[in-house]
Point group: C2
Chain length 288, copies 2
């Protein structure tokens, strides 16, 4: 039996932001990679990643970075991931495993299956970690501990790649779930994208001059409105149809609430609020 | 100089719920009241308040309870406070100070000024404390520590009552602000009522079957949707006009967001999200 110290020899992280940096730190902490190379469009981000030891080597040139890699993790915003896929597709070595950390999966999985040659083994991933903070400076080796990672293999996904990437996320402390890419995007539109967009919209609706009177309720409901506007703009477009559907449901829900108030219909209003309350309470139970 | 151990001899708390119970506990901890009598429509709540020593005596009969009181705190939901005012108005002793803890102030202050005879000294208060939890069982002597209390005196308010009630809240650790009752309701519609109603509406918009995939973002944005549906229904009606105005602003804000996505207008969308982000970040700075 051959002793292999590391699960991967050369891991390349394309995009050393909050998630990419955290994955780098976690890979090193768990000794899963012999060498980690990071790339970024932002030199400052690469430098910080090096200083924090989230990566062993920094490289601005994608093709140089991925040479000989056995695992490539696409960790840029969704829009850049789509460009990265096209850019690196013909330059990956045989049997290189590729995964990503994009918050939407439909377009990314479709692009990967279209552009990667058969000898490149792609499987989509979405680590549901992170916060309103962004950037590698906020990265942590423990970011994925206890988080869910949704993997989105399809009928075309290589089984070895699927197993190895699942093993990787599990080793980093995450709880892996498997979902169809389109189903993933539909679900995320409601449980993640809509809450974020609602928080942004709520901030916009509140007049500046009264903001200072806000208490913990306002702070909690809008904490995620401090998230990266670039990333969330990107998510809106990369999950266009589902995001619009979720916004429409929210508008409908607000209109129902408004109607009960306008009608001074106490029974309907109490029922509306109470159903929401019971649903919210079930959320805590569901997730322990 | 006469030594007076307590600020008040007999304090009566009408409504021993989360806030009423917490005020009772805090009054006792700070030795501000020689005796505290509590009333409630719910016998179980009164019993718990007694067991927790939030009150010294329990009394179901309002008129008996308030006899000889030098401070009465109206701590029931807004709708009940309005009934309590009419009910006790002619039974309070001369120079009795009355305040309340209602989340809306316009109707309550108007009712108090209409029904209380001139020898009863009323001043409105809104302790901005509490959480999605309700009931005396969740009460705490420290609930008001560091919280804001908005007092809403008018031209008719007795100065002694204003000073004494301000002194009371300050002694309980709160930061007292003063505002016109109608202005208070306008401000609260945006910084408190709208965030709560948005959280309820968001819970309603999310299909049951996907709820289990929600992460911390969803949990934080909707935590306050577990608040008392009865209390929030009550707030909607007692701040009717302002609440509707705030819901309309939210609907407009969501519609603008939707428009930018439909138009695939990246510049507008990014600007929208970024303005919300900057505003949210200013909120943390404003409140330290």
């Amino acid at each position: 039996m051959v002793f292999r110290r590391h699960l991967f020899r050369k891991v390349v992280i394309l995009g050393t932001g909050l998630i990419g940096g955290s994955v780098g730190l976690a890979l090193k902490k768990n000794e899963l990679a012999a060498k980690i190379v990071g790339t970024s469009r932002h030199e400052a981000s690469l430098k910080t990643a090096l200083t924090m030891k989230a990566i062993d080597e920094a490289e601005m040139d994608l093709h140089k970075a991925i040479a000989g890699a056995d695992l490539v993790i696409l960790a840029a915003p969704a829009k850049v991931i789509l460009e990265n896929i096209k850019d690196i597709a013909r330059h990956l070595r045989r049997d290189c495993i590729v995964t990503d950390v994009g918050s939407t999966k439909g377009l990314i999985v479709a692009a990967a299956e279209k552009h990667f040659p058969p000898h490149v083994l792609f499987v989509g991933s979405h680590p549901m970690a992170g916060s309103e903070k962004s950037g590698v400076a906020n990265a942590s080796a423990d970011l994925l501990k206890g988080a869910s990672v949704i993997m989105t293999p399809t009928a075309k996904t290589n089984k070895l790649a699927k197993d190895k990437v699942k093993h990787l996320w599990t080793k980093l402390g995450a709880d892996v779930k498997v979902m169809d890419p389109d189903k993933h995007d539909e679900v995320m539109a409601f449980v993640s994208h809509l809450p974020h967009l609602t928080a942004f919209a709520l901030m916009r609706a509140i007049p500046d001059e009264v903001l200072g009177f806000g208490s913990t309720g306002l702070k909690d409901t809008t904490r995620i409105a401090a998230s990266s506007s670039k990333m969330w703009g990107d998510i809106c477009f990369s999950n266009y149809r589902n995001v619009l559907k979720s916004i429409d449901e929210m508008a409908k829900s607000l209109a129902e609430l408004r109607r009960a108030i306008v009608d001074k219909d106490e029974a309907t209003l109490t029922q509306y609020l109470n159903q929401a309350k019971v649903k919210r309470e079930s959320l805590d139970k569901k997730q322990g």
